[in-house]
Symmetry: C2
Subunit: 178 residues, 2 copies
């Protein structure tokens, strides 16, 4: 059985939506994901707000209740019949996210056992056939086949096989032997 | 550069010492590591105490201040010049350990970057040349060369290359190309 690793932030969980919600509320702005085409919120944010931008994601409750990316649950449930599914999250950059991420996965993806969660940093450590990730850097480190999951910040990226949505992920793997 | 993964509990951190300390205190016993030759504390403990045994490690503070296994710091610091060192801990079985384990590593092994921490379950996910681990089950899952780090519970095990101490780990890798 082939093995698929799946990134969490901006692939399974809509981290950007929550980050924008807190940003817009704090600074009385109305930035949308469309405003961020080709750049991360980090590049978009003025220097004097960077510290606060980081404080949002360091907050104990930031990762507790993130909205789901549409289709993630259904497609992963279906893929888990044909593939070994592992979650691979770069959680070490935000240590406060470790507990909340564990609880979020249990709540929304109870069909994936905790033994298949991997909280890591450098994704070259993953021994898997596929990695679905929104970060080009992670896909460059990964030794298997990478799939770039579309997010506003990675729109200009042309280096990888791209999947724009969970239905596109389903279509990609429908054509692949498991 | 070859890559070595290192388990935490009973390899870098003396988890058993802390578990025995709490057990002996709670039940007014004087069990030593020597009493546990060939079995884990789990097999040793009467059924009516199993729930409490689990509660010890689920406590928020259990993993915060574990003693170091002798030699772990010096040998890993030295090996990190010749090998890529990753920490690979089966932290998902005790979710409360995630934060404490992160902090413990930062405090005692500051020369290993957090991007090289891996909190996982099934160690077949690790892409590495070596794994130093006290659990035969983890070494069976791992795809590279396993080294069994001696702990009381694994004394009867004969299936793996055994290292009895950190000086023996140093000696093993002194004879290996990096």
């Amino acid at each position: 059985m082939q093995r698929i690793c799946v990134d969490m932030d901006e692939v399974m969980a809509d981290t950007l939506a929550e980050h924008l919600r807190r940003y817009n509320q704090a600074f009385d702005e109305a930035i949308t994901p469309e405003d961020l085409a080709g750049k991360g919120l980090w590049q978009y944010t003025p220097v004097e707000r960077q510290q606060q931008l980081r404080a949002f994601i360091d907050a104990e409750d930031f990762f507790e209740d993130l909205p789901l990316i549409a289709g993630a649950q259904d497609v992963l449930r279906s893929l888990s019949a044909r593939f070994e599914i592992f979650i691979a999250s770069q959680a070490m950059v935000v240590p406060n996210s470790l507990g909340p991420k564990y609880r979020w996965l249990q709540r929304h993806f109870s069909f994936i056992p905790p033994s298949h969660y991997v909280f890591c940093g450098d994704k070259s450590i993953l021994l898997a056939d596929y990695l679905i990730d929104d970060q080009p850097r992670n896909l460059r480190q990964f030794k298997g086949q990478g799939l770039l999951f579309t997010a506003p910040h990675n729109l200009p990226e042309t280096e990888f096989v791209r999947v724009n949505s969970w239905p596109e992920v389903a279509a990609y793997f429908a054509a692949v032997a498991s």
